[in-house]
């Protein structure tokens, strides 16, 4: 087991829609309560990824942002961060990408005017925006977690809640997985990736992409602990008192869309 959680927090200032930084707060809280050392490295457009400082990062997070903020970081992401992220993810590094960041991990984003924005091409998916006449995907959402996670012995050992995820989604782009087996959850409530195929999010090795804001990890302590355990390379974590977290999760399951 690794004795330290070192988080690479990408574009904290630009990509923090709907309090997505709460995902970091949740992870830091859950690690600290267990006396696990935590360090959060903020990585922005000025950060050069060639330092040895980045080699021992064991969790990466990137959230969602408005279009303007995503444009601000896009060039840096493609030019300066792509290689690091690809190497990290393909080596089995643990990471979480929400909304806009989830889309950017895919192959491309096709706008309604047919212009294409290149993605990092790490997740096998693409995103399409059909224009303003197609309603955005907005509302409370819930899904049943993929067997890729629920059947993982680490999750089985860690999970003391249920096999569901809850969150809040707000996206105009529709995302399509090239292989639906890689979904994060099956949609129970809400739009999911595209309002069509009941998929939500994506799993690639130990990395997750999702449209769930909430923040995701605050409302889903079982997923938080799963990612924490994966990052620390362990299958056991001290049990925390999660009365509030579990109530928030269960109440969110009952919310209307």
């Amino acid at each position: 087991m690794r004795d330290k959680l070192k988080i690479g927090f990408f574009y904290k200032e630009e990509l923090n829609l709907y309090g997505d930084n709460g995902n970091i707060e949740a992870l830091v809280y859950r690690a600290s309560r267990r006396n696990i050392q935590v360090e959060v490295m903020e990585i922005d457009t000025e950060t050069k990824m060639n330092s040895s400082n980045f080699t021992d990062i064991n969790f990466i997070f990137m959230g969602g942002g408005p279009d303007s903020a995503q444009k601000n970081i896009y060039k840096d992401l493609i030019s300066n961060k792509k290689e690091y992220l690809r190497d990290y993810i393909e080596a089995g590094g643990v990471s979480l990408f929400v909304c806009g960041a989830f889309q950017l991990m895919g192959k491309y984003y096709l706008s309604s005017d047919n212009s294409t924005l290149e993605g990092l091409n790490i997740f096998s998916l693409y995103t399409k925006h059909y224009g303003p006449k197609k309603p955005r995907c907005i509302g409370n959402t819930a899904g049943e977690i993929s067997g890729r996670i629920t059947q993982d012995p680490v999750f089985k050992n860690i999970n003391r809640l249920d096999n569901y995820l809850v969150g809040f989604e707000n996206h105009g782009g529709r995302t399509y997985l090239e292989d639906k087996e890689h979904l994060l959850s099956n949609v129970i409530k809400g739009h999911g990736n595209n309002s069509e195929d009941n998929t939500e999010g994506c799993i690639h090795l130990n990395s997750i992409g999702t449209y769930y804001h909430g923040p995701l990890l605050a409302k889903n302590p079982h997923l938080s602990d799963y990612l924490l355990a994966k990052a620390l390379n362990t299958d056991t974590l001290e049990v925390l008192e999660d009365v509030l977290e579990n109530k928030a999760h269960t109440a969110s399951l009952k919310l209307k869309e």
């Binding site: 709907y18 949740a26 605050a218 928030a248």
Partner: protein
């Protein structure tokens, strides 16, 4: 919100957590000594709160 406050080190007693916005407004309106209430909603609860207080979600 209670979870976010917990993570930030603010201890909220469970008896002070009311899960329904309508119930909160009802309870508050019973207490005539309360002159001002500060609301710190997230996006989705802001819409629900507006609906309860103003009758519509979007202004």
């Amino acid at each position: 919100m209670a979870v976010r406050l917990k993570h930030a080190g603010v201890n909220i007693e469970e008896r002070n957590i009311v899960p329904s916005i309508a119930s909160v407004v009802k309870e508050l309106s019973k207490n005539k000594n309360i002159k001002e209430v500060i609301v710190l909603p997230n996006y989705s609860s802001m819409l629900d709160f507006r609906k309860v207080v103003l009758g519509r979600k979007i202004l």
